[in-house]
Symmetry: C2
Subunit: 107 residues, 2 copies
Amino acid sequence: MKADTLRGHLDALLLAVLDGRKLHGYAIIEALSLRSDGALDLPTGTVYPALRRLERAGYLASEWDVVSGRKRRTYRLTRSGQQALAAERAEWREFTTVIGGVLRAEA
Amino acid sequence: MKADTLRGHLDALLLAVLDGRKLHGYAIIEALSLRSDGALDLPTGTVYPALRRLERAGYLASEWDVVSGRKRRTYRLTRSGQQALAAERAEWREFTTVIGGVLRAEA
DNA sequence: GTGTATATGTAGCGCGGCTACATGTAGTAG
DNA sequence: CTACTACATGTAGCCGCGCTACATATACAC
């Protein structure tokens, strides 16, 4: 997949993967890879800043866990984040309808 | 639709709208608006530079028409552009499958 | 003790779509 | 004939964000 087709959809992915569960950054990257059958392999320089941005926006909340001496910052959706996820999903549907419609149209 | 969700997909739209017909820039903007039921209303500052970029890339060819004293630069797909369009369509399918899969997945 | 997997983070680049502006013609409303 | 609107093309520069590259540190296997 071309590099920055992702632009504008990363937030949706991150919110979606946190829907109904708490995960830390590294696990989020793995979860996205799993769910996409390896198609998504996001670099840490993409994911970590995005998570902090979403937290600043109030969509995520984080806390430090220490598991066997190892520090993990686990993220979870806030109520506001769940609304944002719903909005992102609606927008995704609209987006695919619009672009898909143009790409499929006959001349 | 949010502003730059379009990023990385504009080329596909432009190639698709020129599939099987010649159009000039202004008409391309109108055609995209029509095909998307008004959802796409691209500014000229987006479309014109993109068309020139695609021409430089060899995907489009242009010529000046003069219709009732008015200059129009009409674009058409080159053979290479048709291949690019096919590639863009394939990529679009992959892209929607991957992102859509993650967005729809249960926790 | 060396290497690999796990884990988090930042600085700065690059690109592409957008805003805002500049320019000019054709038709029409008054 | 003048003003306004639709048509038509184009450029300069901003801005946001995903990516590259790098820095840092622990647990575990060999």
